[in-house]
């Protein structure tokens, strides 16, 4: 799973959000490292929808503009949890080894 995908799913983990909400949330989670632009975001959202990792929750019109809210699907939660566990395990391994190396030095 690529980082932007991971971050989008993470942005939706706590609840539904619309496109712009996801964009700003992804920037916040990644501390500004990953900034999705509209074209990239929607390409990713479409892919995730096609893979059934996210669903459309509902649509509403705010200030005459359409907002579509997305939410994590059951499958999406499972995949995100699995990916998070994998990343955590990798990170732990890296930290452990670095510590060990430093301990030996």
């Amino acid at each position: 799973m690529q980082e932007p995908t991971f971050l989008i799913l993470t942005a939706l983990a706590a609840g539904m959000q619309h496109g712009y909400g996801i964009m700003t949330d992804v920037a916040r989670i990644s501390e500004g490292r990953v900034r999705l632009r509209a074209g990239t975001l929607y390409a990713a959202l479409d892919r995730l929808r096609a893979d059934e990792l996210i669903d459309v929750d509902h649509e509403e019109v705010v200030d005459g503009r359409l907002r579509r809210y997305y939410k994590l699907s059951e499958e999406g939660s499972t995949r995100l949890a699995a990916e998070a566990a994998r990343l955590k395990a990798d990170a732990t391994a890296a930290i452990t080894r670095l510590r060990a190396a430093r301990g030996l030095a």
Binding site: R37, A38, R49, L66
Partner: protein
Amino acid sequence: MNGQAELARRYRQRLALYPRAYRRDHEEEMLAVLLEGARPGQEFPRIAESADLIWGALRMRLRLGYPFRGNVGSDALAVFSLVAPLLRGRPCLVDLRCRLWRPARRLVQGLFLTCYLLEAAALIVSPGPRRGLELLTWKSAAALAPAAAALTITWTLTMRLMFGSAFTSSGDAQGNAVAVVAIITFAAGTVLFSSSGGMSWCSSRPCSTRTGSSSAGSPAADAFRTAQTAHAHAHSTSVPGQPCNDVAL
């Protein structure tokens, strides 16, 4: 507020690059996101934003994303059909026999080039369902194939059209069957003709080494030999060692 209307208009211009089917589903939503992300007083899309939209639109048009998923097989074929002629060892899109009557060669070259360009353009601009392109490809393949066989010079052209049919097949059984036949024929033909020093390799080889084929069974090859013989009779001025006038595009 006028500034924002102007900005919205400019964003819409960028969004217009997306396929129509995609815009129907996404334009308003994407515009809203773009406007929400705009700075106060901003009148022009940022360069990075425009680039992102252009790239996104191109990806959609090249079927690298929804709503064209689920057709991975025929999409792959579509791309392959465009790339295949370029993979044949040399930049030879049309591999015509030497000693072919020049106007006929020109005609086929033109036909081929037109088909190729149309298909490339169609791949880029087609708005979604590829039904509209059927006329251009598999129906025209059906219509042209007998004529092509009769002319004997259009092995590659026929293959192109058959691949074209694969490209427009949208995954239906008929189109897939044509695609499979096209691939098998293409592969077999390439092997047969290449091994006998024919079809695939052009320009540098002298004509005399390229006539005839030891392999049998391919109607195209047979028709080909017949035509060559006929032609050799008509013009008995064939010079061994003379470079072939293949058409390289």
